[in-house]
Symmetry: D3
Subunit: 289 residues, 6 copies
């Protein structure tokens, strides 16, 4: 007689994940973890849940790379320091002092918080930035914006070396030019360029929306898939706007460069990464060739 043992439901779910684990084993998955993706839960819980997801990917042999920004945290620190910011077309003008604060917050606060949440599970995460081993060569995005940078080149060597040693790189998106001058760079853009440079299997944006909607105010209008051909139209007709622009641009850039799939997911859902990677449930918006 077959007995129904305790735990057999769990086992069945593990077995359902098997083909996905086999598919992604040994592949690189770049995950952009956004500062403001975390509104639905206390920030610490959200980070802990995110950390569990990344550690699980790592445990089953997938190679996750975490890229993060930290706009809200930078704004908070500038406020504490009584520093005012000018904005040009929605982007913060970044003088030398502001850059210093941005770099300090990204590398000294946001980055180590993520690293620390991962290392609770074992010695697996290492925090680096684009300044380390010349990972990101940057240049000025526009004179008006000061030390806001754009990506000139990615040398993914240091990331590959860390991956080769079974480590999870957590990357703050500060770059530098040849003279050592630092720049603050949009993390969405870096994530896309890095996924392309690494030949990643997937690029995943964890955001605070549930994907791209054809009608921003209508949750039921989420677009499940976007092909490279469809993307320009969505920019042109205004469907994609605001902070979603650099995300979708990065997705398109990465997929054009050979990344198989790029995703915009709602990071407020617990374990959104695992649901996307290991189950049949379709969540968020996927960009594909």
């Amino acid at each position: 007689m077959t007995q129904h043992s305790p735990g057999s439901d769990s086992a069945a779910i593990l077995v359902e994940a098997l083909p996905y684990i086999q598919e992604f084993r040994g592949r690189i998955v770049v995950v952009k973890y956004g500062g403001n993706a975390l509104a639905g839960a206390s920030e610490d819980d959200a980070l802990a849940s995110f950390a569990e997801d990344i550690v699980l990917l790592h445990a089953v042999g997938i190679l996750p790379v975490v890229v993060h920004g930290g706009g809200p945290q930078i704004g908070e620190m500038l406020a504490k320091l009584g520093m005012k910011s000018e904005f040009v077309e929605g982007l913060r003008v970044t003088d030398a002092e502001t850059l210093e604060v941005a770099r300090m917050v990204l590398k000294g606060q946001v980055n180590p918080n993520i690293v620390s949440a991962l290392n609770v599970h074992g010695p697996i995460a290492v925090g680096i930035s684009g300044e380390d081993a010349n990972l990101i060569t940057a240049s000025s995005f526009s004179e008006a914006l000061g030390f806001v940078g754009q990506v000139e080149a990615i040398d993914p060597s240091i990331v590959n070396r860390l991956l080769a040693q079974d480590l999870v790189p957590v990357i703050a998106t500060i770059g530098a030019d040849d003279l050592g001058q630092a720049y603050n760079i949009n993390a969405d853009t870096v994530a896309g360029a890095l996924a392309a440079a690494l030949g990643a299997e997937k690029l995943i944006f964890l955001t605070d929306v549930d994907g791209i909607r054809s009608d921003a105010s209508d949750p039921s209008s989420r677009i499940n898939q976007i092909t490279l051909e469809q993307a320009p139209g969505l920019f042109a007709d205004g469907t994609v706007s605001g902070g979603m622009i650099p995300k979708l641009e990065a997705c398109v850039h990465a997929v054009e460069a050979g990344v198989a799939r790029a995703h915009v997911l709602d990071g407020r859902n617990p374990h959104a990464l695992l649901v996307e990677l290991f189950t049949d449930a379709g969540v968020g918006t996927m960009v594909r060739p």
Copy 2:
């Protein structure tokens, strides 16, 4: 607002498996898969389910080694061939002809069936026997039993080489002496000796009982744990009897030799291996130091 996404229950279960995956990653788990462990389901379904479990272990970085017997299948073939067997103390007297049939069935039928069920999921399994690369050096168990063998020595080199290449060895328990004479050896005994020689993390017997019972007729009397100290008493007072004797002996031998945990599980439960390895549910009987 946090949404409850489809798939998040599955994700939660994956996360519960995380510490177990981390604990056993890179470790060897020897699994004895018994011919008669499969009564509760059609044999093919049971084999397919078993194969999923082994492939999942492999996919998350654990190193499974499968050892199998095939008593019922040997008996069936002997019957087809009209060959009669004598029995001495419950063990089949194995003359040269019987040995030939036993070897043929184990290596030519049972072994490739398991290999084939695994390789449906990818090119991961390789069938070998104790005769390959001198894995098992055997000698005669007793003159009266003919070519029934006992383990003289295990040279696990070939198993380690296959593991090093990300393959799953499936082992038929035929051994040979220095002159090339083959012997049929009890698969439980081989599993224990191999786990010891490999320095395995775990030795797991999949059987058709739910563990060791203090009262054989009372399912509720299952013994959850046995320490090395308690084992001799269980043999002495007859609690352990029949086919369970070589299993518990193998468990004791393996744990004495450094294997951390040895288990007797009910292989009739679907995914019993996964339940044991990846959930908190305690199933079967565990032997520990």
Copy 3:
């Protein structure tokens, strides 16, 4: 005064083998060992002599790969089991039951006998089949013949891995399709396809004839060499017929694919392999570009 020491004749012969050893060292030689090549001596003596040859190749750094069939042994077992076979154009119709027997005999009897004969000399041989690690992907040869298979694809990875570890693979020619369905495949064909896939230096068929004759009944009409250009003519005019057809086809296929030389030798001669490889004596028929 130079003395004539005992053993110096032997030394002279070793020295004569030197250039051949140097030429073939580190190269792959695929040897098809046929069930009925062994008529001239007791089977055991022939196998022991064959084993010595293979072990010697291995000892001097050549990489032998053994492929075998087992038609006579399969027929014998079918007879014992009282199973009758239909034949279509000389090929046995192979239903599911017949396949099971064929697989069992090849993998469980013929293969381990060869492995065992080799391992008497040291832990060097490992028996595998086309089902292991997806070595041979097969498909049905013709509906009428049932589970007689043809080679769809060879993935020589497992063979190369074993060679890389100084082991001698002994291969039973059972393949499987993607669903795990097994097929029995002509061993001559597999030997040719495998030699091609491995980039072997040589493909050698050990048979019970002394090569290909222009007049089948006249031993003195043996053809020493056949070029790729000459081969089609020999098929067309009937010089090559019967069981020699798949052998010569396999030779032609392998040489077209880059194998330097393919040979049909008389396996009844003691140490025919060594004579061919290490002496100037021309034996059998050679196919060359």
Copy 4:
């Protein structure tokens, strides 16, 4: 006629460095770079000069590891943020908020400034902290001081991995306990513990004094060498006091653990590191077994 070519004086100096380069090639040198070691020159010049020294060590095959503190910079940032600090026995009481600022300044400001100065010369430096890959396990130093930590354990694996890849680790001395709670740890202490854990050849403190003096006010009283036997006396009689205490303690600890030599040098001298390592000139104070 031997001409005196331009550049031959330089060549002579390179030749004088030869035995030192040979002696230290492939060896680890841990350098503690102190925030207040840099008073004698503009900070940027001092950092650039320090960077040249480290890059030269790296270029000739020595394995430098940089450890840094950042007390003055932390104080400055606390002041900017209007946060007041209590002091207990000269140590800053570090509550959660103060720790957050300290970590942010060390990892987000001091560390990237050093990394950036090194990477101007090539992609060689990577900034990490004790929180990365569990490098430093910390615990509370004393309840009164809050999140001031002490070293519980060093796992140098991540440092060795970076060195193995020809990179220069630059280490901020924040550690964490098993729960992920961060602590700020005295950089001198960390440097000593790390040198011991790495089996470093040398531990070098770059400070703003010219070594240890028997009479603090008399530059000519510098002590050139201290043996392990002499050290306790120097603590006992007050010769070593203030900030020099953790430095000398770290030197003693490291030398006791097998580090061959530990040095306290005046970092205000240009290229003090090179002078110490590559010339016969004795500078600063050396601790030896």
Copy 5:
């Protein structure tokens, strides 16, 4: 106050060498060391100074390869043995006996003297010749000259193997043909062919002149740089003559084959190699693409 420490001038010079060390690290530099380059100092001093230079290159991670001739030493030995030499167009006619002496002096006297001078600094140098592991395949240069050889082929495998093991090959320029017949070959020619075959970064000739002069008698007429385009003219107009011809030919050959720079330096200047490699001082004549 910044103090001027003892040794800081030396440190400054080391720092000036830094970019050169970084540039040449891991690159091959072939140095032709000529028998008569050493007139300006006692020979032993010159050799000791040369050895220091080579050992320093090795110590900082550059891969030096030394090629040497030995004309004067051969002449001396022939004289001692009372053997007279004929000359044809300035080249010594080399009969079998003369070859034997030349080979003996080069491999048995000049080569070990250089090796020995290097190994005083550590176990780093190994003396080989073109006869070892078929490094140089030679043929007769002209019948009239006997066993004076020319380079037929270079197999740099043995040199690369020694370099891979952190050794400095010192090469005597005797080659052999396929039958094992030895030839004495012009060392300048070998150095050029070897630099080409190794893909060296630099080829350097140490001679007893200070470079190539437009007016042989006017030291101030030294030509600093020669491009590949300019070279033919210098041969044609007689600017380059005598022993300088094979040197410049070798430079041109090597640069054409991809060597970045070839130099003719005055080996009588102490540490001429270091001055050329590690300082801005321009010495000798450089050939570049």
Copy 6:
């Protein structure tokens, strides 16, 4: 019918060598090749025959190391140069000039002749001496004898490196002290010390006698085996005398240090090495533990 094919006798002899090839594969065999071992044949023939033996060992995977002296050749060159030698107790007093000649002849004449004879068969031999990479550290044997050296230390690293690259080291027995001063050392002694340092399987002396005789004038009195216990008696009673003393001492030293067998063979027999290694024929005298 079994035919007797051409070449089958040769094959049988190869098969007889099989167990020896298997036994010695991958093991080091140090062969001392003596200048005066070659009287029975023209020297060139003897060298060619010796070369075939060494190349065959190499081809079947054994690791031969050749050590040679060259007393007769040195004497001849000294005579040609008109240099007279004094002798003390049968050993040549070696002043600086004599040493120079000895080194020149050994490294520049004897060594390259052996290397050249080997390389006719392929790029496998490399000539080195004890001066290369500090292989042999020597000191003066006695003041009276000048630069006759004794072995102070063997650093076999360079030999192991060459073996690891599938090369055959040919070693001239010149050593050097720490100052680079060369010494000429007895080649028998070096062979023994090297075999010990390498952990060789065998040490073989090729001489011009047929082993050690109990009665020097009676060929039939050859002693087949000597144990370590028996050796002292043979020295004491004068059975071993003259040039046989250093040989037997070296044998004893090597066997005491772990070499399994040491042999004195008659190198005048063609292929004496092969006869000893690959046949059952007992030749010469063997020293064993």
